[in-house]
Subunit: 356 residues, 2 copies
């Protein structure tokens, strides 16, 4: 039996319910800018060792919460756990990012992909979720997450990170049937995966479409957004008597904000290349917004961080429906003290935007 939630600001803000201040969490808040993370990472020997060991994943998830008064925890894991569980063999080369032993090039390759059973091949993730939820003791909600089908597919077809996305784009333009087969299979896998995370204790889920911005508008709708919508419709939207908010973050996709909001999700992440004022005016009352401080601001100094927090809060304006975050992950070079400044600034300056 899990403890009742003591701080539900994050959940309420995502559901656009009144809160006394704006909640905050930070993408990659458990990460390399923290000395205690770097130490554990060195002991574990590899990034994947951290992800696959539930105790270590739990410890890493909790590290930033011991230092900073954040309003949510996010599962520490990798976005490529699903393709790994489908049988592609994920591994990491230092300085080169993720790689796969096998890649997907044809319909036959797609047919051979296993549909992962979260309770077996992804049990290490579910164990981590349960353990984190238990250890959080109801202090703040736990966010589960997954990569989007399109983003997962780029890695699976390219065999790793890419800039030009030559292979996957050759597939979507030249062999769209195979691409759709792959994406549909991935959407089902993401639904299973996130529902299992919810059943294991995740109180909200976020889907990262890191590479949606590489697509033309028509291709984004057909090869990314369509599958995000399928996932939103397939997820447990409430569990154990509680509403489970769903957040979509499609990096570099600000031109599609309205369409993303129309998927039926609860919240939409926005990067820093659009003002929250514009984003809010475009999505209206459909969804809450998450973001959007330029992560580079965290590299400056306390005065600038505070003044940019004030601007970001003012840009969203009055009322609920804003979860404060950076527009992308916090970078390794950030001074941890700047996170303290960020959390204090958001607390101090957001109150007035929530008064009548």
């Amino acid at each position: 039996m899990n403890s009742p939630l003591k701080n539900d600001l994050y959940i309420k803000a995502l559901l656009r319910q009144p809160t006394e201040r704006t909640p905050l969490w930070v993408m990659r808040q458990a990460g390399r800018y923290l000395p205690e993370y770097r130490q554990l990472r060195a002991q574990a020997g590899s990034f994947m060792n951290l992800c696959t060991n539930p105790e270590l994943a739990c410890e890493v998830t909790l590290q930033p919460l011991r230092r900073f008064p954040l309003d949510a925890a996010i599962l520490f894991s990798d976005i490529l756990t699903i393709p790994d569980a489908m049988g592609l063999g994920l591994y990491f080369v230092e300085g080169e990012g993720p790689k796969f032993e096998k890649t997907v090039q044809s319909a036959a390759d797609v047919e051979q992909l296993k549909r992962p059973d979260p309770s077996t091949s992804l049990a290490y993730v579910m164990d981590a979720v349960s353990l984190i939820r238990k250890n959080l003791n109801g202090d703040v909600p736990l966010i589960g997450f997954s990569g989007s089908p399109w983003t997962l597919a780029t890695y699976m077809v390219e065999g790793g990170s890419s800039k030009a996305f030559a292979k996957i784009k050759r597939m979507i333009y030249g062999d769209p049937q195979t691409a759709h087969l792959l994406l549909d299979k991935l959407a089902d896998a993401v639904i299973d995966y996130l529902n299992a995370q919810i059943e294991s204790g995740a109180q909200a889920v976020q889907i990262f479409d890191t590479w949606g911005g590489a697509l033309s508008p028509e291709m984004f709708r057909s090869f990314s957004l369509q599958y995000l919508e399928k996932i939103v419709n397939g997820l447990h939207r409430s569990y154990d008597g509680k509403t489970i908010p769903v957040v979509l973050f499609c990096k570099g996709c600000n031109s599609h904000l309205e369409a993303i909001a129309d998927t039926g999700c609860d919240g939409v992440g926005v990067d820093w290349t659009i003002t929250l004022a514009e984003a809010r005016s475009r999505v209206g009352e459909r969804v809450s917004l998450q973001g959007n401080l330029d992560p580079a601001i965290m590299l400056t100094n306390p005065e600038i961080i505070e003044s940019q927090v004030i601007e970001t809060l003012a840009s969203f304006g009055k009322g609920s429906g804003h979860v404060f975050n950076l527009g992308h992950g916090i970078t390794p070079e950030v001074d941890p003290h700047h996170m303290t400044v960020l959390t204090q600034s958001v607390r101090e300056h957001s109150m007035s935007w929530h008064k009548d």
Copy 2:
């Protein structure tokens, strides 16, 4: 005395004058996808040897025009010639991109930067422009170009390519005076450089703001757009009795199209993450548009290239004011035959959009 221009479709389209079809050129049309380029590059020993030798730069510029019926030539050069001429010492590390021996970190560093005299420290570029113009023999116009102040500044402060832009962003947020000093100096240098290219024979100029998309809306206006506007106002807009069109291409900046059009430029480049229909409806009659086929389409097959050309032309719609191009540079893996398909498709399918 240079020959009169036989094919002025590109110039006319940029000035939104009627043409019988849509003109086409391709970013990086002189490049690694051409075997004859790779051969010359290997002989020259380095990329910079190609740029600094006017005969080789001329030869490389003309290579794609011998194969394909393109409607413009573009000077073969590097965007970092200005910082090199300012004294930073440009060099290339194979597989790592451009680097500088010295970087700019402080106001004192900015003060020490030389204002390059195009007729001496950049004479190799002007010699190339004159030679290309002469050898083009009036067949098609010659486009001169420069990197934007913001884009040049990112390399000068970071010391090379960057993903997070940590140093330059620390500067613009933490020491904006120094950043403005640098950008203003760069804007003056770009004006001198492009005016010298025009005096040497360039019949249109394009400014590439490759990294404007890394900035928040407010920062883009203050640290990139402001200096683009200064340049547009400082350029020879006609020379030798001919109008010299100015094109701005700010990659990843589609949310700022209206503001870019308001600088007073003649044409605006757009990448493939927006439809030309939307771009045209937003910029109205102010400017012409250049773009915007996803470069990845060039990796597919002739049928797909043709159908996507048809879609792109239809998206722009009727009338003049469209220069066909990719949304970014052509990639090294493209089959040169696909360029033939592209040129034929644009010629064949654009005529009907220019009839009354």
